[in-house]
Point group: C2
Chain length 382, copies 2
């Protein structure tokens, strides 16, 4: 890895360390001056979540909360946040990537002189990380923390220079040509920030996101990416953050339209919703992870009729589906009439349908007929 | 892709087609000669499962079952098997790879002139595939059928030539250098049969299998594969068939010892068990998927004491853990006293422990201290 790239990675790390340090110093300063030591941070409850109609994103509002060191209800969380910050400093300084779960164990110790653990549940250290993300305006990947990872796969006309820094100094660079990959494609790494995943060249005209890995293989084997000049991505079910972040980057940095293909059921539509908007709980991350301009390609219950599928593909709805679709109905981005119609149709006809059902027509119906027809007709849902 | 490779892939396909054809002809022949048309196949119930102590594998016994066309209890299954065989013939002839779920939909149709579906549940088409695997002595990957896939990752001193045939004739070859990969490693493809995944060169001295992706990243980022000359593999939790098959191939074709690292709990030990022996229900596949010589590196409850972990890493057992460990106790390969001791220790101390708990010592304790110490001491369980 050449010096320029190493410098680029270090620059980001230095910036993060600078913010951590300034934040810590501001606390120290307050501690010396004020009796009532506190940290102030954006409120992350539903009451502070805003639906920005125009931009089409959920955003964090302006409300701030204070966490007092000398308030018995706040003290522990105050301490947790500070401790987690110090662990994060180690990660960034030492160039180590770790996971939420690992971090949890590094702060799960008994506070000396007490019988109290600093944290008992991972939820607590996760919350502390979220605190720091919002206060410092840094995403956890920039703290070198991965969530899950290992689920995303990609192929298509794209060239990537993946830079893999090593805590022991043996950095390396991998060149990825998305048209020359094996059957598993490129394993989307757990952190895809620009300084690590440098996208060199994109010839594709759009991104097709496919819910499941096995269906993605169908498109990959059929060289859909070649025939339609597209990047094909799967998150392997519910997508991890890295996959969503990469879709986001492809849209914003390369202006690629994003189309999403899922099962025709509330679970599939929710997966679309997460690519598009993120989850309501993590709304403050929407600016980095969401792709509000994503469009839904299919499947819908209308497609069942449109494409004349045989009745044997129908799967009876479960109670869970009904419950879920009622939740979806209330999401701001699903308020559009096209979606409301689909939700009603699902409830009326009482069945759902999977991507794999397309095989009932013929093996390659999904990649050779269905998706091309939808693209041709621009038959997308908002 | 050069002609020689294409020929190699076709040779396997031709062999499979030949077996399918001979099998179909034998049925036709019987149909003409005998009144009582049947197919005969190895029994796959537990009563026909044999534990081969010496080889250390579960095998299918010699018992055969007959399925009669004119027996009302057998007729449907007879028909399902024949239909599924005809679908498989399409896949192999056309060079298409598909999934169990897709195949299910291709045979889920209403039998003309009746109100009966050929299959109603995926279980039925899966069983038909298993019938054909055992009768023709072919594994389903050779039928071009993948199960799940997309979960396995690999890195280390290994060179692989991955051949990706295309149903439309645009075959390609990808060269994989396991020491030059990105942070996600090589995405283990859903089918790793030798004609598709040609292992060119292995310099590694052993294989380390790591239960979870995030823990695998720790070893990958620390270049464990470089320092210890090892191939590191993860199946991302419960491994898919492709990952197990690849571990099997590395052991049998390259004589590499295999060490497995999981959580210290019944779920982790079961994951080890599946790499080692396969599942009891699919015992007939053990010869292709299992690696009975695999050794368990850790974690164990003994390690908690040995490595002086802090008590905060302990996780209280759930009812499920107790139930599971009682099942494990009766697996033939867990009858060894070392394992029985660990099971008893778990029950006595009533806690379990995760790989990530190692971070309680320091971020890189698992890759820099724990695993090296275990390897050095050859402290493996059978």
């Amino acid at each position: 890895m050449n010096e320029k790239i190493i410098e680029e990675i270090r620059r980001k790390d230095k910036e993060v360390l600078k913010r951590l340090k300034e934040w810590a110093e501001s606390i120290l300063e307050k501690a010396e001056k004020e009796k009532d030591l506190y940290i102030e941070l954006p409120t992350r409850t539903l009451s502070n979540v805003i639906w920005d109609e125009e931009k089409g994103v959920i955003l964090m509002g302006e409300k701030l909360s204070r966490r007092y060191f000398l308030n018995i209800a706040h003290a522990k969380r105050f301490l947790q946040t500070v401790w987690v910050a110090s662990r994060i400093k180690e990660l960034v300084e030492e160039g180590i990537t770790s996971s939420l779960r690992d971090l949890y164990y590094t702060v799960k110790f008994t506070i000396p002189g007490t019988r109290e653990n600093l944290v008992d549940e991972q939820r607590e250290s996760d919350k502390a990380i979220e605190d720091l993300e919002t206060m410092l305006n840094v995403i956890r990947e920039e703290f070198h923390i991965m969530s899950q990872g290992g689920k995303g796969h990609l192929a298509g006309p794209i060239e990537i220079e993946e830079r893999v820094p090593s805590p022991d100094g043996k950095h390396r660079v991998t060149e990825v040509d998305g048209t020359m990959l094996g059957m598993g494609g490129w394993a989307i790494p757990p952190i895809v920030e620009p300084e690590r995943v440098h996208i060199k060249k994109v010839e594709a005209e759009f991104v097709l996101v496919i819910e499941k890995f096995a269906s993605w293989v169908r498109f990959h084997e059929d060289r859909f990416w070649d025939e339609y000049n597209a990047i094909i991505i799967t998150g392997g079910g519910q997508a991890d953050r890295a996959t969503r972040r990469l879709v986001h980057r492809l849209h914003y940095e390369f202006k690629l339209p994003v189309y999403v293909l899922t099962d025709a059921d509330p679970a599939g539509w929710y997966i679309y919703s997460v690519y598009k908007q993120g989850s309501i709980n993590l709304s403050y991350l929407s600016p980095q992870l969401a792709t509000p301009a994503a469009r839904f390609l299919g499947l819908t219950i209308s497609d069942y009729h449109e494409f004349k599928f045989p009745p044997t593909v129908k799967i009876k709805l479960k109670e869970w589906d009904i419950k879920r679709v009622n939740e979806l109905k209330n999401y701001p981005w699903f308020k559009k009439k096209e979606w409301q119609r689909e939700f009603e149709l699902l409830e009326k006809e009482q069945f759902k349908m999977e991507i794999e059902a397309a095989a009932s027509k013929h093996w390659r119906f999904i990649s050779k007929d269905y998706v091309p027809a939808k693209l041709e007709a621009k038959a997308f849902l908002p």
